[in-house]
């Protein structure tokens, strides 16, 4: 159904060419929104949508963009999309918008976005750019969700806000690990994922 090239464009960023654990981009927001699973999911989806749409738009107008101001044009496109998503979230998912707070606006500066626009959308057609945007956004989202899964489970004993660790554990002296609530722990978890990812892929090659 899909040619090998489109498959690589879409699925490459999920694993071999993951923007977070291989290219180490977009780390800052990965630290900030992964305390709980829900904002991480929303952030992942938001970034995916924004990268995909920005990729398509920039790809469509790529031949008309003056080279000297191309970065500015890319920024304007991304900023417009981010503002749109943030307005929509504030209107329809207020709690999540509050939790994401400034980080939603900071998607504008997410390195993945500018990286994909400059490296891919400026030189490829709209369809490939869409796939590339989706792939990279999802690759980012996967890492976010994995990190948030461990941080919420070990840090608050819950997943998506529902308590997972039974009360009897707490009664027996179990305590949630406050370190997981700190941004530093997200870096260490990302480090662990990179570690696992490298060891797995070494065997494949």
């Amino acid at each position: 159904m899909l040619s090998q090239k489109t498959k690589d464009t879409l699925l490459g960023p999920l694993n071999i060419n993951n923007p977070v654990v291989v290219q180490v981009l977009g780390i800052c927001s990965a630290l900030a929104v992964t305390v709980q699973l829900k904002p991480a999911l929303v952030m992942g989806i938001a970034v995916t949508i924004i990268v995909a749409m920005a990729n398509v738009i920039v790809s469509l107008i790529r031949n008309t963009i003056p080279m000297r101001i191309r970065i500015i044009i890319q920024l304007v496109v991304v900023a417009a999309l981010v503002t749109l998503v943030s307005e929509i979230l504030k209107a329809f998912a207020y709690d999540v918008a509050m939790q994401l707070s400034v980080y939603l606006g900071l998607i504008i500066t997410n390195c993945i976005l500018m990286g994909r626009l400059e490296a891919f959308a400026m030189t490829n057609n709209a369809w490939d750019s869409l796939l590339d945007g989706l792939g990279n956004g999802l690759g980012y989202a996967i890492i976010l969700v994995i990190v948030a899964f461990f941080r919420e489970l070990l840090g608050s004993g819950a997943l998506l806000g529902y308590q997972i660790i039974p009360d009897s554990w707490y009664a027996a002296g179990y305590e949630n690990c406050g370190m997981m609530m700190m941004p530093a722990m997200a870096l260490i978890l990302v480090g662990c994922i990179i570690w696992a990812h490298r060891s797995l892929n070494k065997e494949e090659k």
Binding site: I69, I88, F92, Y94
Partner: protein, 227 residues
């Protein structure tokens, strides 16, 4: 015709057009969505007040709020914010609180009985207190300690409620609650916030009654008077 996309004129015109398109688009969206967003902000505050009033939020907090609220003085999320509710036939006052914690601002709503003395319930929020320590002020065990405490002393002066380390005794005999252990600064912040807000900010209201509220233009069949 092949356009020279690198000429100065083209660059300027292009940039202008892009900016105009984006600006119009965003302005439009913002206009369409702003009522909904304002409603969300309001709903969030209403929910916090309902929690302070010990109400189950249920499926429709807004309707619940409307069914309970009687009267408000609210200046755009700033001080003062005074609300009068009727819960189970009894009048309750809710006051908005603002203060400082360890790392950032803290705030909340305090619900008082009709005597403007007994605390009916309280709710806190915070910007960035330490998770597991200072952040515990929003949790039920800390909040529920306040219920039934008095903000006035025997001489009917407003003295607020102090938050103290377990085992310590308040100096002037105010009502006291136990601090969150390990979160001394945040607990002191809560204590200071209550004192500053109740003893200064809302002193006039607490001593004078609902005169201010009735002046707002709402017709009221009964005027609260100091007993």
């Amino acid at each position: 015709m092949k356009l020279n996309t690198n000429s100065n004129v083209y660059t300027i015109v292009y940039a202008t057009i892009v900016v105009i398109i984006v600006a119009v688009l965003l302005a439009l969206v913002s206009q369409v969505l702003s009522p909904r967003q304002a409603a969300n902000v309001k709903l969030d505050q209403q929910k916090q007040m309902l929690v302070a009033l010990n109400q189950e939020l249920g499926a429709d907090p807004a309707a619940l709020y409307e069914s309970l609220v009687r009267d408000t003085i609210d200046k755009e999320n700033a001080k003062p914010g005074i609300f009068r509710f009727e819960v189970d036939g009894a009048t309750k006052y809710v006051l908005r609180l603002h203060g400082a914690g360890l790392w950032g601002g803290i705030g909340g709503y305090i619900a008082l009985d009709e005597d403007k003395n007994t605390i009916f319930g309280i709710n806190f929020n915070h910007e960035s207190e330490t998770p597991g320590l200072g952040a515990l002020i929003v949790e039920e065990p800390f909040r529920s300690q306040f219920i039934g405490k008095h903000i006035r002393n025997a001489e009917n002066e407003i003295v607020s409620v102090v938050v103290l380390k377990k085992g310590n005794q308040a100096e002037n005999g105010e009502d006291q609650v136990d601090a969150v252990s390990g979160a001394t600064i945040t607990s002191t912040g809560v204590s200071d916030m209550l004192k500053a807000n109740l003893c200064d900010e809302y002193k006039e209201f607490l001593d004078e009654g609902m005169k201010e509220l009735t002046n707002e233009g709402k017709e009221e069949d009964h005027v609260e008077s100091e007993d």
